[in-house]
Amino acid sequence: MDVLVVLRQVPDLVEDLELNAAGTDLERDSLKYVLNEFDDWALEQALLLKEKNGALVTVLAPDLPEADTSLYTALAKGADRAAKVSGDFVLTRSSHALADILAPAIRVLPHDVVLTGVQSAEDLDGQLAVLLGSYLGYPAVSVVTDVAVDGSSLIVRKEFAGGLCAEYEVALPCVLGIQAAVRTPRYAPVSRVRAVSKEKKIEVLSAGGIRESDLRIVAFRKPEGGRRADMITGDPDSVAQQIVAILRQRGLLKRSSE
């Protein structure tokens, strides 16, 4: 069975996110990029399928900043093949644009199952996994927390609110939006990543056309106002005192003094 994992780079939220002068996007020059956390879970799920069912794992990324690092790390973790789609695109906040770039590439790479993270920090125009399903014409399920192979189909666990889950049998080929896996993403030792980056190659595919976005950005802005908190200051003991006073005032102190 061939599993293909799509890896996306997103702005690293550890940074202060500055807005550009026009207020229509982030100030991209000062951004650092990191692998989308949910894509890491998708990769882990793929590697679990490799361990359990002998699947072959291909990782595919659009050529965004530091994508190479993510691809080499994936190879170091056990992926069998890595490819990236390069082209005349600067950034792809748009999931539709990413799907335009990735779907043709996926078609030429081996895949029975396509996995990617359920969402990202900037998928304003919808979830990539589901879009890929539509573009490729495959059934797609998102918010998946477990995947098992059952003959020529998959048994997939989808999660709803409150911990309620449902199990579905999904025919191949399919696309899954991964939320979590049964174990946390494994570690790739630095020496292995460095060794891999010297020994292995990332195949490069050319991007095709990207449709124009059907959303116009009016503004990017920082949240302000609303129900802003009254800040409590002071040393820990003083803060504790103030909090207890607030609780007493609101009738929230459950126990009278002992």
Partner: protein
């Protein structure tokens, strides 16, 4: 092309609060556009009468919709949109909504805005405000065409506005081609029972990534006990296995409305806020002054939680 269409969300025969939040906002938008409001209920026609706030309820009766199936629901929703041609479609940004919105957007070339927390009309055009980047940035987006679909975060609009008495006209429809396709439902798996039901607690103390390690939970558990409340957590804590799923607050967890929600080391990503912004009194402790949790909290403390938690526990024991 006319009207606002809201997709009601239900699971296991129960309508989600979100459905009324969408219906209420749908009503407001429909009125502002001087157009009618439709509410679509798939696979559970008995729930149709709940939507007095709508002008019309379209109850799709196909039995293949009785249990949630991504492909069947997609097919049904796409057909409804094609037929009724609403200007604005509202779905929840939920596990169900995420399966549907992007697929329908692709199939019908409908502009889609996700993570929506605000909707308004500017010069006759619909502007949706989305919360991105872990809640750190708001984006105002305008669909480039006259029609669009918007996925709304739970808790963004008041549910009360959607619970109005009324006599909507109810249209029962049986659609063609609504099958489960390559995705076959097998069974429901209930969350582990036997643990505390945090949705019934008056007082909750919530931990987030700031707690750093499992062993630090003990100190916060003590605080929860001192307050007479229970411990709950954001998704990363539960994903790590440090607390059971039944303690998870947020989009993929539970929605809680306690009298007191004390958030400790929780940054306040939208998925988490969704689950608790309705709490009566929110107090947040976080070392990051720009943590989004402070936007919804009533009181905030910018400090090291490892100092505040024991100090507060001590004070409460006095």
């Amino acid at each position: 092309m006319a009207g606002v269409m809201v997709l009601a969300e239900h699971l296991n025969g129960v309508l989600a609060d979100l459905s009324f939040e969408l219906a209420g906002k749908g009503r407001a938008m429909a009125d502002a556009l001087a157009e009618p409001l439709d509410v679509a209920v798939l696979g559970a026609p008995t729930l149709a009468s709940e939507f007095g706030v709508a002008d019309r309820v379209i109850a799709v009766t196909n039995t293949t919709l009785e249990v949630y199936s991504p492909t069947a629901y997609r097919a049904a929703l796409a057909q409804l949109i094609r037929e009724y041609q609403p200007r604005l479609v509202l779905v929840g940004n939920t596990s169900i909504g995420m399966d549907l919105a992007a697929a329908v957007s692709a199939e019908l070339s409908l502009p889609l805005v996700s993570y929506c927390t605000g909707l308004r009309i500017d010069d006759g055009q619909i502007v949706a405000t989305a919360q991105l980047y872990g809640g750190k940035v708001l984006v105002d987006a305008l669909p480039a065409t006259d029609h669009c679909i918007v996925a709304v975060l739970a808790g963004s609009f008041p549910a009360d506005a959607g619970r109005r008495p009324g006599q909507p006209s109810i249209e029962r429809r049986e659609l063609a081609g609504v099958t489960s396709g390559g995705i076959r439902f097998r069974r429901l798996i209930q969350p582990e029972a036997g643990d505390v039901d945090i949705t019934r607690q008056d007082i909750l103390v919530s931990v987030g990534r700031g707690i750093q390690s499992q062993e630090n939970l003990e100190g916060v558990e003590e605080l929860a006990r001192a307050l007479g409340g229970e411990l709950c957590a954001s998704r990363p804590i539960v994903d790590n296995g440090w607390l059971p799923k039944s303690r998870q607050v947020g989009k993929s967890g539970l929605t809680v409305r306690p009298r007191l929600y004390l958030a400790v080391g929780v940054s306040g990503a939208p998925e988490h806020l969704e689950g608790m912004r309705g709490a009566e009194c929110i107090i947040a402790v976080n070392s990051d002054p720009s943590a989004p949790i402070f936007e919804v909290a009533d009181y905030g403390v910018v400090a090291d939680l490892f100092e505040i938690v024991p100090a507060l526990t001590d004070r409460l024991k006095q």
